[in-house]
């Protein structure tokens, strides 16, 4: 199959998957019964409740409700979030910015650290650094994020007092404008160094926590693909012509070893996305993940629906991009189902 055909095929399946996902999630959110609870308050009488049910079409059959939901989404209406006490679409952008800032920072940590560690270990195969990196990687895959976060808080927040929790200091937050909602970017835009440092300071611990698991996965992949590349003939050739080992590694082996690593980097994105739920709860980070956790505990179905659909679409898109990049980088990949 040609790459173009492959991409087209995948793009054609994508909407079907999105629709399928939305049906499953919608059906699931209604299995537990009517979502009316979150909208009720004690002062309401029977008539007012009936009015609410009417307003949200809760008396219609499920498929009809689904159609209402879809038409709402197409018109840019994701429903009313009981947890945020506002329309979902109104709260979403700010929370998304907070989560994205955290996820991107973690991704940067993970890619930089993971590639560096993997290279370091792979070039020293079966020696002490390699063994230590292996322990680090296997621990990363087994580490409960919620526990790791709490451990870091106990050490660096409670005992040493080196890092704060939350997203920024209130007075610095008020001092600058927030056109993007990404505090680091906002601080740079307003040219305020103190605010930038403050934003980074708040970002450091959550980003490290969230990045650990992904760092471990990337380091492991980088290590094993580098070990494989170093056994190739072209590496011997480069050594034979007298190239210093450092350059053999940097110019030849590492570049090729990065190809399989790229796909893993893409896949860790889903990992980071899920991790934000836990990291945001523990570090009091006002993002999508914490909103979702609140919504889950209080039965706020509009928010759950919006969040699950959003992450799924993002996840699908990232997977598609990763597959295409991989197919492009490595022509040996057999495309198909």
């Amino acid at each position: 199959m040609q790459i173009r055909d492959y991409v087209l095929r995948r793009l054609m399946i994508l909407p079907l998957l999105v629709v399928g996902t939305s049906i499953i999630v919608f059906a699931l959110t209604r299995v537990g019964g009517s979502p009316i609870g979150i909208y009720l308050s004690h002062e309401m009488n029977q008539a007012e409740v009936a009015q609410l049910e009417e307003r949200f079409h809760l008396n219609d059959p499920l498929p009809v409700q689904y159609v209402y939901w879809v038409t709402g989404v197409l018109r840019g209406d994701l429903g009313w979030s009981g947890v945020a006490a506002a329309p979902v679409t109104e709260v979403f952008p700010a929370k998304l910015a907070a989560s994205m800032e955290l996820a991107v920072a973690s991704a940067i940590v993970a890619v930089v650290l993971g590639v560096a560690l993997g290279t370091y270990a792979g070039a020293r195969r079966n020696r002490l650094p390699d063994h230590l990196t292996r322990i680090f990687s296997i621990s990363g895959a087994s580490m409960p994020l919620f526990w790791f976060a709490i451990l870091l808080l106990i050490i660096f927040w409670v005992n040493l007092g080196w890092f704060p929790i939350g997203r920024s200091s209130p007075e610095l937050f008020a001092r600058i404008a927030h056109p993007t909602g990404l505090y680091t970017v906002d601080a740079v835009l307003s040219g305020d160094m103190t605010a930038l440092l403050d934003a980074l300071w708040h970002l450091a611990l959550p980003a490290l926590t969230l990045g650990y698991g992904a760092t471990a996965i990337i380091a492991r992949m980088m290590r094993s693909s580098l070990v494989e590349e170093l056994q190739e003939d072209y590496v011997d050739a480069a050594r034979a012509k007298g190239l210093p080992e450092r350059l053999v590694l940097r110019r030849h082996a590492r570049r090729n070893a990065l190809i399989p690593t790229v796909t893993v980097i893409g896949l860790t994105f889903g990992f980071l996305l899920q991790g934000t739920v836990v990291a945001e709860i523990i570090f009091r980070w006002p993002g999508l993940g914490r909103w979702m956790a609140d919504a889950v505990l209080r039965g706020d179905q509009a928010t759950i629906m919006a969040y699950v659909m959003f992450t799924s679409v993002l996840f699908l898109a990232v997977n598609l991009v990763v597959d295409v990049i991989y197919a492009y980088l490595d022509r040996r990949v057999v495309l198909g189902t």
Binding site: I13, L16, V31, I138
Partner: protein, 309 residues
């Protein structure tokens, strides 16, 4: 992903070699290869210890009545640090004994992982087998359903399901079962398609064996190994995800479960009470680590292509 049973058996078996002997010898070789890796052995030892704790929980600590899976509350000893008499690892802010929670938490985790893994493996293998063995339209439909399930990140999917069903440990089990079977369906289908092409399957067909017999005797045994590796890894992974869900608040409060305890202990960390979160979280880590070590070791032996050592 597409490993079949390692072909260590010589093509022409020596005279007097029965099928049974070949099989036992193969298992012995497999066991020796697995045990040659020290990290796998560490994992195995940890698993044995954890299982021993889970199984003998009623003998290690006096079961709480009426429900041993519920934390006993000692209202006269709130927030006691580790080392207190009667409370070796300290207590939580509601007087829960951390030691009791750790011991019975092992039992809770074993229950969780065993139930979820057996449900998901059964369903996944069945669906994957039907899709791979039948092929055609059945395959197409089943795999599109699998694709839809795979398009939602697993923790978020499980979170949404458990939330809808209402907060309880049983619903966490249910949610994890709904989310995790797809992996097995995928693996199994790929394996079946791969194994189906072998000459011995054609041979069985030629001598007139029924499809069901071919599936049971020739295809399934040669296709199942990657499922076993994945199941081992999932024994750890499921406890990790399950504990995350109960940490978020989807299990009953007061359940003797590691995630619940970490969440309960989280409240006290700013006041310097580190123990109630630290010990149970460590158990989740050790549990997941043990099964990851063994799962990785199995994969290296059964499918040498995945990692060049």
């Amino acid at each position: 992903m597409t490993a079949d049973i390692p072909r260590r058996v010589p093509v022409a078996a020596p005279l007097g070699e029965t099928a049974w002997r070949v099989r036992t010898r193969r298992w012995r070789e497999l066991a020796a290869a697995v045990l040659a890796n020290p990290t796998t052995v560490v994992g195995l030892v940890l698993i044995v210890l954890l299982l021993a704790v889970a199984v003998s929980a009623p003998f290690i600590t006096e079961p709480n009545t009426p429900d041993p899976y519920q934390m006993p509350r000692d209202w006269g000893a709130l927030n006691e640090p580790p080392g207190t008499p009667d409370h070796v690892l300290g207590t939580t802010n509601t007087g829960g004994d951390v030691y009791y929670g750790i011991i019975w938490g092992a039992r809770t985790s074993l229950r969780l992982s065993l139930i979820v893994v057996s449900i998901t493996v059964t369903v996944g293998v069945a669906v994957g087998s039907i899709a791979g063995f039948r092929g055609g339209r059945v395959d197409e439909v089943l795999m599109r359903i699998v694709d839809v399930f795979l398009s939602i990140p697993e923790l978020i999917f499980a979170l949404a399901i458990a939330a809808v069903l209402g907060p309880s440990f049983r619903n966490i089990i249910l949610a994890l079962a709904v989310v995790f079977w797809v992996k097995y369906a995928r693996i199994m289908r790929a394996q079946i398609i791969h194994v189906k092409d072998n000459d011995y399957v054609d041979a069985a067909r030629v001598i007139g064996d029924s499809s069901w017999r071919i599936y049971l005797h020739d295809v399934l045994p040669n296709a199942i190994t990657p499922v076993m590796v994945q199941a081992t890894l999932d024994m750890g992974h499921i406890v990790l995800v399950g504990a995350t869900l109960s940490f978020i608040g989807l299990a009953e409060a007061g359940l003797a479960e590691w995630g619940v305890l970490v969440s309960e202990g989280q409240v006290g960390i700013s006041a310097g009470r580190w123990w109630a979160s630290t010990f149970p979280g460590l158990m989740v880590f050790v549990w997941a680590l043990a099964f990851n070590l063994v799962g990785d070791g199995l994969r290296d032996v059964l499918d040498p292509r995945t990692e060049a050592r």
